[in-house]
């Protein structure tokens, strides 16, 4: 991840004519090569924020700067360098995948050879080459999502904004899609902004996340930092060991252990004040047990969100 700020939002607000405040005093920034997750439930203001980032919606207050430009004042410069995949992605169904991509590629002012080269390369990356001359109406939902990402790649953008990219995908497709995003970041150095309401699925690829609720950013940072912010320095250690029934008592006596929750016959969940895995491992071996698994568990983003939401509501 680079240090250059490629996108910054400062005190951004959007109030609709009916008085509804969709986005309220939003501030954050994105570094080059970062995967940032804008997470929150449906209707929390994520899409409104994205539309303002693209210059497709004017803000009521605040400023947006994308690659040093105001997207509402200089939309063409911004749109040339920012790729967008909407949540409800649609294609001209009567056209083939290639024709659909060629149509949007023409807006970039590329000559025919360059267009063909980029489209074929993008389609190949998304593993759609054998279907590129098929009409889009024959595509599955997952294939359309991949085609959306292919279209975004044709633009060779510096920033990619994906609105609910995993919506409607099965778990296997979600894993594939998210791994595509990380590989694109690694290979192309692209910066990603993902919006999603499926917190746990997206957290795995995000360097940092912003948690959204009712148009406000209620928490912001890396998942670890957010976990620490809301749950303190407590850590959860998942331990599995065979050979002794009263291991629970032994674990409880260890310094730094706050609590032990027995999950099964040989399975324990240890809450500790810090990472004491080496000490626990040593104790298990000393007691003559066979340690089969020892790993630190992180608080899920869903848990963090629930707590952050509760805290924000109480304020």
């Amino acid at each position: 991840m680079g240090n250059e700020i490629v996108l910054s939002v400062s005190h951004l607000s959007k109030q609709y004519r009916k008085g509804v405040k969709a986005v309220d005093d939003l501030s954050f920034s994105l570094k080059e090569g970062e995967i940032f997750g804008l997470l929150g439930p449906n209707g929390s203001g994520k899409t409104t924020t994205i539309l303002m980032l693209l210059g497709l919606l004017e803000s009521t207050e605040g400023t947006v700067e994308v690659l040093g430009h105001n997207p509402f004042r200089t939309p063409l410069v911004v749109k040339r360098q920012v790729g967008y995949m909407p949540d409800a992605i649609g294609f001209y169904e009567y056209m083939t995948a290639y024709e659909n991509l060629d149509y949007t590629a023409r807006f970039l002012g590329l000559d025919a050879n360059e267009r063909e080269k980029r489209i074929k390369a993008s389609i190949a990356k998304m593993r759609l080459t054998d279907r590129m001359h098929d009409k889009v109406k024959t595509y599955s939902h997952g294939m359309k999502r991949r085609l959306g990402l292919a279209e975004l790649l044709v633009k060779e953008p510096r920033i990619a904004i994906l609105d609910e990219p995993t919506q409607g995908l099965d778990p296997q497709s979600i894993r594939e899609f998210l791994s595509l995003i990380t590989s694109l970041r690694d290979s192309e150095g692209m910066t990603f902004l993902l919006s999603s309401h499926q917190l746990d699925e997206v957290q795995s690829v995000c360097d940092r996340v912003g948690l959204f609720s009712r148009g406000k950013l209620i928490s912001f940072g890396s998942v670890d930092a957010l976990g620490e912010e809301h749950f303190g320095k407590e850590v959860l250690i998942d331990l599995q060991a065979e050979g002794k029934d009263d291991l629970e008592l032994l674990l409880k006596k260890q310094k730094g252990v706050i609590g032990v929750d027995r999950q099964g016959d040989n399975h324990y969940l240890v809450t500790a004040s810090e990472d004491i895995r080496p000490i626990l491992a040593q104790q298990v071996f000393s007691a003559g047990c066979n340690l089969t698994s020892l790993e630190m568990k992180k608080h899920s983003l869903n848990e963090i969100y629930q707590l952050a939401y509760k805290e924000a509501s109480n304020e």
Binding site: L51, R73, P75, P86, F91, Y92, R106
Partner: protein
Amino acid sequence: MNKREGSALTGLKVIWLKEMQDYAGNIRMIILMLLIILTAGASMYVAAQTLRSFVGEDSFMLLNLFTISQDPIPSFLSFISFLVPLTGIALGFDAINSEFQNRTLGRVLSQPIYRDVLLFGKALGAVSALAIILLALWLLVIGCAMLFLGVPPSGEQIARAFAFYVVTLLYALLWYLVGMMFSIIFRQSAVSALVAIALWLFFMIFWPMISQLLAYAFGGGDSFQTAKLEVVLGRISPYRLYTESALAILNPSTRSLGVVLFSQLQGAIMGSALPFGQSMLLIWPHFTAFMATIILLFAIAYVLFQRKEIRM
């Protein structure tokens, strides 16, 4: 005041060409074209059969082809005035809401183009498609006229036929814009189609009756004033504007489109043809009204579209 960066027309050609391509292969367009060719062909054939016996007697043979009818088949002009608005509406009723329904609007507008270019491109694509269709029909009529009647049309007849082509194109464009405007207002294309057709039927069938009633009610009992008022009110309907314009162009002996006093006809040679320029002067207000309505409709559509929220 911040100025727009880049050309305001960036991407216009791409949208224009795509729209043209869409219309070319559009099944509803093909059906409408077949309908127009069939009906126009029938009325042309009947008119040509009638005119054959007058070859050499009438100096505006070609123009008569457009207006002559024989029961039960109406004239070419009647068919055209009926089918052209339908074609315009058929092209425009889902111009924008189909982009919403297909969820393609966000994708297209996130490309480096200004939002209004989409509207311009669609309108330009439709005008081009309509212009090509009507030109093909126009050439077909002239070709058939030469084939059936064996007489080449004079320069003035060609000029008049061309003026008729231009007015017909404006009429079609007007109804296209009505359809497009409703496609921005209503999310469902079925609703925008129904509303546009209802408006067309209102102006074609009901407005003449309503304008007569209003003229009687507000004419103050003076028959001349009532007739004048009826003409003014009647011309609110694009259908009347079009039929009057077509009549003045295709029938050179038409000397006036409004209420005429006997005193105004003093010295006029009845039945003699007006020169082309004079006929054009006669329809100039109609032409202006068409242009004004088209600009107004486009302006309304433009404002509505610019204010429309993009999200689905």
